[in-house]
């Protein structure tokens, strides 16, 4: 937390926030809000740590990088190493899940596949779905939120009610059923590409009201601000006001809540995979590995720990970074 937050009362005009506010908005010293946020963020070691892990995960997930790393530190994700596994029990013969120089995270029970590279390839799926689904949510949520907040009236009522309906849906059930009933080739996609697309769509589609509500609220208050009044009084069209006046002011909250939505979506994807509607094997996914582990935790407890920690570290990193970003961009949020 960079900005000290007062517990006991003291007038806002003496608040450091307010001081910065005075400096910040029109930049008396030529520092933009973004620069100030960056300054604050840089000072937040924990958030930077989180951001570093996030960056690392993204780099690791890049198409060219994953196989390279898997090659250096492991073996191909689908290669069997059954000689390392007890044929009857299915557990790795070596202790600690078969950790060795060749398999730094150990091996999968039964097949003996290299856990490191499976975790690595799983990261790819998680990050991809997490980020893309967030993008879907943010696009829908922002558009709907702005429309509802800006135009108000029956449009607002309609959209707000729609969001209520969405929020009242038992999402997980719906997502599972939908994945189950959607045909096997669609939109010119098939196989796991289609699976990923469907997961992205479903996760993103069901989560937009969370962003929508926030954007709607922000738009509502922005609409009443002087600069919008000013633009309107000068005869600016709605589209101009929306895109030139309101949208730029929504960039900060959108950025913050997107960052915080990504881990939620990663968890959602992991949950769906855990419940059995994730991507198809043999491609690895973290939730899918845990789902497999429900049958194997007694034989190979490391098979719970490794993918579980991968989820934990990833989600934590995004959360830390998102929290830091929020504190930096919008110290008074919440």
């Amino acid at each position: 937390m960079t900005a000290p937050i007062e517990v006991s009362g003291s007038d806002s005009e003496a608040q450091p926030d307010a001081v910065l506010e005075g400096v910040g908005r029109k930049a008396i010293e030529g520092r933009s809000l973004g620069q100030i946020a960056w300054m604050r963020l840089r000072r937040d070691k924990v958030a930077i740590g989180g951001g570093f892990v996030v960056l690392l995960l993204i780099i690791v997930s890049l198409p060219g990088v994953t196989p390279l790393l898997a090659g250096w530190f492991g073996s191909p994700p689908n290669e069997f190493h059954q000689n390392l596994v007890d044929a009857t029990l299915g557990s790795p013969t070596k202790p600690f899940g078969g950790v060795s120089a060749d398999h730094i995270f150990g091996i999968e029970p039964i097949n003996g596949r290299d856990l490191f590279s499976r975790i690595l390839y799983g990261a790819r799926v998680s990050i991809l779905i997490g980020v893309l689904a967030t993008l879907v949510s943010v696009v829908i949520g922002t558009v709907m939120g702005i429309i509802a907040g800006y135009f108000g009236g029956w449009v607002d009522t309609l959209i707000a009610r729609t969001m209520d309906v969405f929020l009242a849906f038992p999402l997980v059930l719906f997502a599972i059923s939908l994945v189950g009933v959607i045909p096997n080739d669609l939109w010119g996609l098939e196989g796991n590409n289609l699976r990923i697309a469907i997961l992205v769509f479903i996760i993103g589609f069901f989560n937009w009201p969370y962003i929508g509500r926030i954007i709607r609220g922000q738009t509502l208050s922005l609409r009443e601000r002087e600069f919008v009044d000013a633009a309107r009084s000068m005869g600016a069209r709605n589209s101009y006001i929306l895109f030139k006046e309101i949208l730029p002011n929504l960039v900060a909250p959108i950025l913050v809540y997107s960052t915080l939505l990504i881990p939620t979506n990663i968890l959602f994807e992991a949950a769906l995979s855990f419940l059995g509607v994730g991507i198809n094997p043999p491609d690895p996914s973290w939730g899918g590995m845990l789902s497999q582990a429900t049958e194997l935790y007694s034989v190979a407890p490391h098979f719970v720990i490794v993918p579980g920690l991968a989820i934990f570290v990833t989600v934590l990193a995004f959360n830390l970074f998102g929290d830091g970003l929020r504190d930096a961009l919008d110290p008074r949020a919440r």
Partner: protein
């Protein structure tokens, strides 16, 4: 206040209607669009190797060849007015609210739901007690001791907590607490007759996640509230700090937490799916999952509607409670 409640009730019913229609559409129209015929649907109810006559008999019984709106109409009608089901030799009366009859399990869907609901209820309530006690108190203390070691430690744990899904903590605890160390028995809760403390592990795993969330929420809410003008006023009056914190601060910051709590509770009461799946507890979530994976449409519809009902009800209760707690809402 009465008008307020009536208005909310009507809204809730409307919401349920919409949800049921959408649910119905998804389960009937989407498969249809994907090329599933009524024969296929009938096949879902048949056993091994059904012949054409069997399929025809099943289609006839379920009205699978009716247009979807007609089927939806029948569904709503049976919820409102009840229905009777023909088992072949005898008519089974299914009084309102009749959520349908599962021909896979030969049970009325409502019976199955009523059978499972107590299990989910126990999971949820036990966890809720834990997470409210732990989450709110930690959040309050953290807010009041902002910046201290306690605050930093608590918030670090909380942030870790919100990043730990139940299917990880649950499996971990099963692998070690139950299996390796034999500290607790297998989770085997099946209904009200069983010892609820058998649910200790699911409670802890579920509550840990939510307690973390609530600690963060409470802390943020408390910090905001303790910065409000009326807190300064309370202090200016010379009230003891404890009164200021509890009576003026906590009371005001609990209302938004109440909203979130209502939603979470509603969501979980409709089926703590992941917890139930992780620990294989036969609650509403498992019922719904089984229904989906067995294509038992009446059960899936019933479970979805129940889940939605809980969410809508929870919203309703929260709205009304809001009116009770906050006079401004009551008077508006």
């Amino acid at each position: 206040m009465v008008a307020f409640i009536v208005r909310r009730l009507l809204g809730a019913v409307g919401l349920l209607l919409i949800i049921s229609a959408v649910t119905f559409a998804i389960f009937f129209l989407v498969p249809k669009a994907a090329g599933v015929t009524s024969d296929d649907l009938a096949g879902r109810f048949a056993g091994r190797q059904p012949d054409a006559a069997t399929l025809a008999a099943i289609k006839d019984r379920f009205g699978l060849d009716d247009p979807v709106p007609v089927q939806y109409g029948k569904y709503i009608k049976s919820i409102v007015a009840g229905d009777t089901y023909d088992t072949g030799t005898e008519k089974i009366d299914c009084p309102a609210p009749c959520l349908g009859y599962s021909f896979r399990t030969n049970q009325s869907v409502l019976d199955q739901i009523l059978d499972r609901a107590p299990v989910t209820l126990m999971i949820t309530l036990g966890a809720a007690v834990l997470w409210i006690l732990a989450g709110v108190s930690i959040g309050v203390i953290s807010a009041l001791k902002r910046g201290t070691i306690f605050d930093r430690a608590a918030m670090s744990v909380a942030l870790a907590g919100v990043s730990l899904p139940v299917f990880f903590t649950g499996l971990l605890s099963l692998a070690f607490v139950v299996h390796s160390w034999n500290l607790l028995p297998e989770v085997n809760y099946r209904g009200l007759g069983d010892n609820p403390f058998n649910l200790l592990l699911p409670w802890i795993c579920l509550a840990f996640l939510y307690a973390a969330l609530y600690a963060r929420l409470t802390r943020a809410g408390m910090l905001e509230t303790m910065n409000e003008d009326f807190i300064r006023t309370a202090r200016a009056k010379g009230l003891p700090e404890r009164t200021v914190v509890v009576k003026h601060g906590l009371r005001a910051s609990l209302t938004p937490i109440m909203t979130v709590f209502g939603l979470d509770l509603g969501l979980l009461l409709g089926g703590a799916i992941i917890t139930e799946k992780t620990f294989s507890i036969p609650g509403l979530g498992q019922l719904a999952l089984d229904g989906i994976f067995q294509s038992d449409l009446p059960v899936v519809l019933g479970a979805t509607m129940t889940a939605a009902l809980f969410i809508v009800l929870a919203n309703l209760v929260v709205d009304i409670l809001y009116g009770v707690v906050d006079p401004r809402v009551r008077h508006s």
